[in-house]
Structure formats: C-alpha cells, structure tokens
Symmetry: C2
Amino acid sequence: MNYFSSDFKLGILGGGQLGKMLLFDTRKFDIQTYVLDPSDEAPCKIACNHFFQGDLMDFDTVYNFGKKVDVLTFEIELVNLEALEKLEAEGLKVYPSPKTLRGIQNKGRQKDFYAENNIPTAPYQRFENLEGLKSKVTSSEIVMPFVWKCTEFGYDGNGVKIVRQIADLDSLPNVECIAEEMIPFKNELAVIVCRNPSGEIKTYPVVEMEFHPEANQVEYVICPARIDDAVAEKARAIALNVSQNFNHVGLLAVEMFQTVDDEVIVNEVAPRPHNSGHYSIEASYTSQFENHLRAILDLPLGNTDSKVAGIMVNLVGAEGFSGNVVYQNIEKILAWDGVTPHIYGKKQTRPFRKMGHVTIANENMAEARRIAQEVKNTIRVISS
Amino acid sequence: MNYFSSDFKLGILGGGQLGKMLLFDTRKFDIQTYVLDPSDEAPCKIACNHFFQGDLMDFDTVYNFGKKVDVLTFEIELVNLEALEKLEAEGLKVYPSPKTLRGIQNKGRQKDFYAENNIPTAPYQRFENLEGLKSKVTSSEIVMPFVWKCTEFGYDGNGVKIVRQIADLDSLPNVECIAEEMIPFKNELAVIVCRNPSGEIKTYPVVEMEFHPEANQVEYVICPARIDDAVAEKARAIALNVSQNFNHVGLLAVEMFQTVDDEVIVNEVAPRPHNSGHYSIEASYTSQFENHLRAILDLPLGNTDSKVAGIMVNLVGAEGFSGNVVYQNIEKILAWDGVTPHIYGKKQTRPFRKMGHVTIANENMAEARRIAQEVKNTIRVISS
C-alpha cells in the first residue's frame, strides 16, 4: 500500500492536542487525513486535510465519517463503539480495534481483563450502581479508605475519588463503579507499548510521574524513571504482557504503581498517544506519535530509545483565570537550554484546563530536573 | 508582544518545503500564519492559517500580502525586494531585512560585500554581460578553468558552470555574471547562524557536505563535520563574522570551502532555513526552523547543540521518471534505527526534483554514516 503523497486516507476520531501532535507526523509523511471533532475550534482543525464537525458518540456521525477513509484511528476513547464495530465488520481497518477499545472503555471490564489474564492489579469489586457499593461499605465488607472509580466516561482524573468516610459516598453519582483497594505506592510509572498488525512490538522506556507532595497532582513526567533496573524491567515486562493479552494495534499506554514492596501493579491503560509519552517528541529517536502512525499503517516501528533525558511539565490553566489565554513568562523559559513549549491552540483558558506542555531535554537528568522545576515555577497560564 | 494563541499574524513568502517545516513550529507554538505562494499545490497550503496564491516577484501582490501581517519573513530569496523595502519603510517588521536580502540576492554584490568586509572568498571578477567576460578570456586576463555564475535568479546549482575551454562559453546565457577562480578544496562546509533583533547570536555546529565521487552531487550532509577542531573553529568564526557584517535577523546559512591548505573561504550565503540544517529537526536540541521563528519574533534563541550525530540524505526524483510519485522501498528504510523520512508533499516527481529528505540520527557517527549509505542505496523516488 502506498501511503505517501497518495490518495490513501487516514481518519482520526477526535481533534484535540493528541490528534494535533499526530498530524505533525502525517504532515511529515504527507499522508492525507480526515478529522472528526465536535468543536469548531479543535486544535486539529488546521493541518488535517479535511475537517468534519460532529458528535463522536453519535452512531451515524462516526459511521458516515468512517466510510470516507481507508484506515480509522482515534485520539480519545469516548467514541461510538458500535459504529466502529460495524465499520470493522464491513472491512474497514480500525486501529486500535473496537475489541481492544471495548475491553478498555469500561473500567470494570478492564479490571476483569487483568484478573482473567493474571496481570497484577489492585484488588477491586464491581458495582452496577452506588447503592450496591453503599451496602457493602455499611456492612464493612469493603473497608475504608478505598478508591472509587466510575467505570465509564471518566477522564483525566474525573470519575476517581478516595472514599475515607461514609459521608464521602453521598457526593458520588449513582453510576456503575468499582471500589479498589488502596495500595501504598512509592512511584507512579508508565510504559508505552507500540504494536503493528504484523506483530512487531516495542516498548518505550519506563517513565515516572513525580507528584506534588501536597497537591497530589502530577507535576513532572520523567524519562527514564529514576528507579532500579530490576523494577524497570518488571514494569516493561508487565506492560508487554498487557499489550500481548489485548492483542492491540497502535499505542497502548500502561500506567502502573511501584508499591512500597517494589511490586509493580497495573492501574489502567489508554489505547492511544498519552500524556506520559509527550517527552518522546524531543527525547526519543521516534516519537510516540510517529510510532502510532507507523503501527496503524503496518509500517516497521521506529527506535523507542531516548537520545537524552526528557522531562515533561503540563501547562494547565491557573486557578482564578478564565478567558483569552496568556502564557505568562514564556519568553523566560525559552531562554533555558533544551526547553520546548508545546501550545495546544486552545484560545480560552479555564482553571486546570490542559493548555499545553513543556519538554526539557538534557544529557544530564539532574540538570533536566533542575530546569523543569524552574519552568514549573516560572510559566503561568493566565488570561488577558 | 503576545504571539501564542493570539491575534498576532506571521506572514511567510513562499510555500515550499522550507515553509512547511517552519509551520511545524508555528503550529507547535500556535502562532497564526499567512502564506503566499504561486502554486495552488504548495506544500504549505495546509497547516498555515491562511493561504494566498500569487506571484512572489509581483510588487502589488507582495505588498498587499505584507499589509495583512505583523511580521513578515520569507523561505525563498526570489521575492519582490522593492515591496519589502516599502513595507519596512512603512513600519512593518521584515526579517531578514530587505537590506540583508539586497546584499545577497545578487551574487556579484554578495562577492563585493565579502571583499569590502575582509571575509575570505575566492578571487572573482564581475561582468555586466557575457561579452565582457568573453573578451577577458580571449585576452587571457582570465585563465581557464574558472567558475562562471550568473548573479541573479540562480537556484540549487542552476546558474553555475565550470568553464574549461572557450567553447563552453557559447552555451552560457548573456546575463550579468561573475568569473570565480577555482580553488581546490577538501571539503564543502556550512554553518548556520541565528540572530535575533536584540542581538543574541548562536551558531550551529559545522556540517560537512559529502559529495558523490563521480557525479559531483551532494549526497550527505553530516553533522558534526568530520574535520579538525581548528578548522571547525575557523569556520564558525568566519560564519559569525559574515553574520555580524550583514547584521541579519533570522537564520543565515554560510556555505564554505575547506581548501587543501586548511584555509576556510566563503562560497555563498542564504538568509533562511537551509538544506544543510535539516538534520537539526532530529539531531539538535532546537531545530533551525524553531530558531528561525524564535529569532524573527525576538524571542530567546534555543540551544543549537546536537543531541546525537545527524546525517541527511536528499530525496530527489530519479532519472527517467515523471508523474505521480512513489517512494520505492520506503518501508525498508523505516525499519532501520533512527531513520526518519520527510516527504515534502509534491504529488508529481521529475528527474532531480527535491521531493523530500531522510534524516539518520545515531549516537555513533560511523554507524549513522553506514545507515545513511544503506538509505541512499535503497530508497528511490520513482513514478507509478
């Protein structure tokens, strides 16, 4: 198949920042792209060849969009799965497959999948609704504290809550959910696995999410993780195992915990380019986005090794600011070695909205970490 | 000035591959772009915010385009200089400045500039037309062989010829020209200098152009050049000197020869992103394109050091093929470590047309060079 400067058409469901960064590589390879997104101001609107505005959860919209393209992928999990299944049944290449997505979209099913495949994960129970959970808490069959997760439509920390006392349950929505045992952990790790339909498979190095000690918010994604080799090897092996069991195509980001006993357990997965892999644009031989593209087109995968240490700092809207975005002090951080901001292109900021990220690339990890902290303390996403 | 996700407008004259690669960085920073190009199929047509089709040498077209934007730059030197001068006189920021461009656009003036500023360059004589040159050759005041160059509108090796015998003169057009002494050289080198209006200035490492032993065609651009440190230092110092004398803003690519006596002399310059800097996308901390953008916006310049060795192979149309392009064996080269093709997006190939390039990034220069040779021997730009 000839993808390059040809009539071949790649469809992408979702037009956000992940799609935007994927478009850098479709442009680099001159592959024609079709993008569907509900927003008329989607970051992908320019740089794709054809933009369509529409609801990603609507069967007809997704189905009709899929009929226009030769290969279909997505940059967000919240898409109409039935439409993908019908398109695949009709012969369209949909990567990752609807089957993989079905196993992941619902967090209860995802946990069951780990249990069935002997993949280490925190013990959990599934509930059809909040009432079922409440009765087990009341009867002390589930002990607090525990982690509540809604099984569907959660995103970026929404739909996850630590329940410490009965009263906490009252603030939860009455939806399908799981209750997960709280496992004390030292580190939150992630490994991105890449696989093409021919079965070639590669893993990126283990990254570490460093949290703010008080705010419990990821501050830095650090590659490679500053952990023992033995733990890193265990994490990569588990990620590979997850990937092989899902039999997925494209990227699979596997988020894990390193427990206080140096065990590694799976938290959750995302079948797409992932925030924990953004560092790869600058630090890796082949970025996660290029490898996603190579994978879904069944091209050979690129080298996932790093050229240098990479640290990513998320740029989220500062509290107390809403409106036309201003990146305060961006000219200061640009003066430091190996600092590259990525501005996603959202015109309006809101508190905690993901507006961009900054990568720090450096030969020396300690120096990268020092600069990352300066970046974090200097740039602010405010409004004009 | 707020450039990021704002109403600020950057204008780019020329919509070819250099502009296309510059757009990766305007997109990364979410800077609004306007592009003017004569072709409706220009590689920049998507990924810029607003595309205009028009003649770059036409005064009114360039002037009217310039009136729409806040800062104006170009990716090709063959643009209407008078329009740029009028726009600048009316207060528009034009970078590089029309003055710099005027000193470069005509190769005779460029040579005079080197002479006036004591910048080493091959001895030359200027002629208003071919007749003037002929009479000096006939009278043996100019000895053969020498290098004939037309002073204007030459591009990519057009307008340059080695004159070895009187008969060679007959094939030359009757235009303004220079005759340049042939200086035996060991290596063709280049240094890209970057400078912002505040006067911050940085140079990229010296690169080496490796020629095919018979075809006398650049086959590889290699960074860093495999030359003595003393020669490299001399080349960087000369490039800095050229840049300071031109007082340019943006990128200035300085092409030089390393003579058999290890002297370094200037061949010619280009005030824009340059083929000899394409390796920087993968191998440098900050690519030439990002640094051009930073420079013309008077932002701090990024680190010009390399993360790893980088080699670039040009992809030009193979002889005997014209029509819809096919990149034969591209899937083979994608399987090798650190290999990244850049496809410019021209749908039609012709013999020797620049269709793309391939970068090889590797920790080890010898390994990079080995892979580069494999790439060169494997991929072919043909037609379907």
